[in-house]
């Protein structure tokens, strides 16, 4: 747990920075819009309707939607708009915070006794004086209640920023969920909850200060809030140097390999930050746009995904093709294969009596297929489904960890396993053969962003990893992280792999 807590300070700093920026922006939009809405019923209906609609979109989806949106915007403006990281997270959280602020500002203003407003006009207040002296102080308590709600939501939802590659308290939560390190999950949740509770208490103090016209209380609340903001963001001042960003998708092997890459880069004198938990399609685009500098992908994923190829050539032909395509098109670089394959495979319990996918085809209508979250949408699945005419009784999607559990507990009969997964050996699973060669190869390959493709020092730090990692070592490293007891951290597994790769 202490190790989990140790990595929190920079994450808290980023988390607080994001939430505060989103709240500031939401206030900047919400206060004037609420003011205008309170006077124009049709604008109020439109603004509240829009904010309410945004609220119905799940937070995770809203964040994800900003990725293609910002990519399109960037293309329109000739580049330069970051599609990952701070910006999409900021925009999504701002939209989320808008509804409670808007709704309460409008309610606060509409709730003012009309005779008080008549008196304000009758004593000769200008519209600005009426707003400052009468409307703002009378609407403030109700408006502040909305600000409090928005702040608590924003701090909670900021954990989702991890999924678009912005470091937040979601990092330990998502990583912990993936590798079943509940101390990490707990540390992330507790830290986010503490932030929310403290912020809410301070905003409550300000709210009571405004309501009771007690400016000392209001100023104390404001001062403490600012102090907290500055203190929380202090760790960011130390990290202002330029650094290399290592990307990782959302499974254990990726976490381990990203740490291995980071280890080698740090040894070469680079400052390293990580963007973890990226979706498969997002990862390569993040590389191409320079949002991440380096990550590990799999040859078959690029071949069928980004390159849109349907054929399944030999391993070397495929790597050749990828290297040429990358240099010509997205101007990224293939540093080299790591030496092992993490192919999609179909795995079954040994008791099933099946040995190949061809056998499976006849049994499939009586079986339940458990797939990881993205497999069913991938070209590989369509390739084997069509090649073998697979029709299952039911298909279910799981996160990878739960998928293996489902197979063991017989909730699923066939799963989409990964050939480098330590659990295949540990669980004594049987990988079905692919007699029709319908599945492409999935060599783990090290990729560099356009800005690093010709950076000799950078490439020299990572080239020694090519063809140095065996599938047995990768399985062992994966298992050390995935197993239920005596779990290793991705850093520990990476350190072990680092020594193995040097022999």
């Amino acid at each position: 747990m202490s190790e989990a807590l140790g990595q929190l300070p920079p994450l808290i700093a980023n988390h607080v920075l994001l939430a505060a920026a989103a709240m500031a922006l939401a206030l900047l939009i919400g206060l004037p819009l609420g003011l205008a809405s309170a006077r124009r019923p049709r604008l109020a209906a439109a603004a509240l309707g829009f904010a309410g609609l945004v609220q119905t979109i799940p937070g995770l989806a809203l964040l994800a939607l900003f990725y293609p949106l910002l990519l399109a915007l960037s293309a329109l403006l000739g580049g330069g708009v970051p599609a990952l990281g701070f910006l999409p997270a900021l925009l999504a959280l701002t939209l989320y915070a808008l509804l409670p602020i808007l709704r309460n500002v409008v309610a606060g203003l509409r709730g003012i006794d009309p005779s008080v407003l008549q008196a304000a006009d009758a004593v000769g207040m200008t519209p600005a004086q009426r707003l400052r002296l009468v409307e703002a102080p009378l609407a403030a308590p109700v408006a502040m209640a909305g600000v409090r709600t928005a702040a608590v939501w924003t701090i909670g939802a900021a954990t989702l920023a991890t999924t678009v590659g912005y470091p937040s308290l979601g990092n330990p939560i998502f990583a912990g969920l993936q590798i079943e390190r509940w101390d990490l999950v707990l540390a992330g949740c507790l830290a986010a909850a503490c932030l929310a509770v403290i912020t809410d208490a301070l905003l409550g103090l300000i709210e009571r200060g405004i309501g009771r016209r007690d400016s000392r209380r209001t100023l104390t609340g404001l001062g403490l809030l600012l102090l907290g903001l500055v203190l929380a963001c202090l760790p960011l001042l130390q990290g202002a140097q330029r650094s290399v960003t290592v990307g990782a998708k959302n499974f254990s092997e990726q976490y381990i390999l990203s740490r291995l890459i980071g280890l080698r880069l740090e040894r070469a004198g680079y400052r390293v930050t990580y963007r973890e938990g990226l979706g498969s399609a997002v990862a390569f685009r993040a590389l191409a746009s320079g949002d991440i500098d380096v990550y590990v992908d799999y040859s078959g994923t690029l071949w069928t995904g980004a390159m849109g190829r349907k054929d399944t050539p030999s391993r070397d032909a495929m790597l050749d093709g990828i290297a040429r395509w990358m240099a010509a098109g997205p101007r990224t670089a293939l540093i080299g294969p790591l030496g092992f394959e993490n192919a999609y495979a179909l795995a079954v319990r040994p008791s099933s009596g099946l040995t190949s996918i061809a056998d499976l085809a006849t049994q499939a209508p009586r079986l339940t297929f458990g797939a990881d979250l993205e497999f069913l949408d991938r070209a590989e699945w369509r390739a084997i489904r069509d090649a073998y005419d697979l029709r299952f009784k039911a298909t279910r999607a799981y996160s990878p960890t739960f998928m293996y559990r489902a197979l063991q507990s017989e909730q699923a009969d066939v799963i989409s396993a990964f050939s480098s997964d330590g659990r295949i050996a540990a669980d004594h699973l049987l990988v079905l053969s692919d007699p029709k060669n319908a599945m492409p190869h999935y060599d783990a390959i090290l990729l560099a962003a356009p800005g690093r493709a010709h950076d000799a020092r950078f490439l020299a730090a990572l080239r020694p990893l090519t063809n140095r990692i065996t599938v047995e070592d990768m399985r062992a490293a994966n298992y050390s992280v995935d197993r239920d007891t005596a779990k290793a951290t991705p850093e520990q597994a990476a350190a072990w792999l680092d020594t193995r790769a040097r022999h």
């Binding site: 005779s115 008080v116 008196a119 009758a122 000769g124 207040m125 009378l138």
Partner: protein
């Protein structure tokens, strides 16, 4: 004092105000001399409140001119105009988040002037200076309206517009507050226009009474002329009620 030197404190020249085609005020012309205490009497919807609100530009006429001190209000700065005219209304409208002192001092504060003599301002309307730091919610209805009147007068204006100021108060409070207003009117040399639907109140307080019906002035008379039946049928009908009540009360007492 020569009569043609000073323009009337308030004058309406063929003023009309329509809401959605219906006339609230219909071609009204009247002149109110400086220093007079005038009552505008009529049933609800007769247009008397609208007429009052045209004076300090809380509302604007569709036709005609409203003159304050001989100046067309349409060309005046509405903000300055309102600060210079005291306005008191039935719902009082004290600012609930401000103390009694802050409420009374609001017009001088808006004008950028110094603090008011709160003790004197409160004494003028018959309140103790102990109340200066109270919030409006801590006062009785009568006290609140006294603060409302003090606020209206704190700007130093000599024209006081009162729209049903005693409407929400109990009879005892109405009576004492009415007398306070009459005393203030005399002491400060005000021109006061009192809108009310209560003919008895008008008869007892005002020097001159206008009766309004359907947006028009249907009678214009002194209380004496009203009571002696010289003001026309509408006025007679309104006067008949308090007169009958007074007679009945006198009979009961015998």
């Amino acid at each position: 004092m020569s009569t043609d030197a000073a323009p009337p404190a308030l004058a309406y020249e063929r003023v009309s105000r329509r809401y959605e085609g219906l006339s609230a005020v219909d071609r009204v012309s009247l002149t109110i001399a400086r220093g007079s205490f005038v009552a505008l009497v009529g049933s609800s919807g007769s247009g008397k409140s609208t007429l009052l609100r045209l004076a300090n530009r809380l509302d604007a006429p569709d036709e005609g001119r409203v003159m304050v001190d001989g100046q067309d209000v349409a060309v005046a700065d509405p903000i300055r105009l309102r600060r210079a005219i005291g306005y008191v209304f039935q719902n009082i409208g004290l600012f609930p988040h401000m103390s009694v002192e802050e409420n009374i001092g609001i017009i001088p504060r808006l004008e950028g002037g110094g603090p008011v003599d709160i003790g004197a301002a409160l004494a003028r309307v018959g309140l103790s200076s102990d109340l200066a730091n109270r919030l409006p919610a801590q006062l009785s209805g009568g006290q609140q309206q006294r603060v409302g009147i003090a606020r209206a007068l704190a700007g130093g204006g000599r024209l006081l517009l009162m729209d049903e100021p005693f409407g929400a108060l109990d009879p005892v409070t109405r009576d004492t507050l009415g007398r306070t207003v009459r005393e203030l009117h005399a002491a400060l040399g005000l021109t006061t226009i009192l809108v009310t639907h209560d003919m008895a109140e008008a008869l007892l307080l005002a020097d001159r009474i206008f009766v309004m019906a359907r947006g028009q002035i249907v009678a214009d008379a002194t209380p004496h002329q009203m009571l002696s039946g010289q003001a026309g049928p509408e006025a007679d009908a309104l006067v008949a009620i308090p007169r009958a009540q007074a007679l009945k009360l006198a009979e009961l007492g015998q």
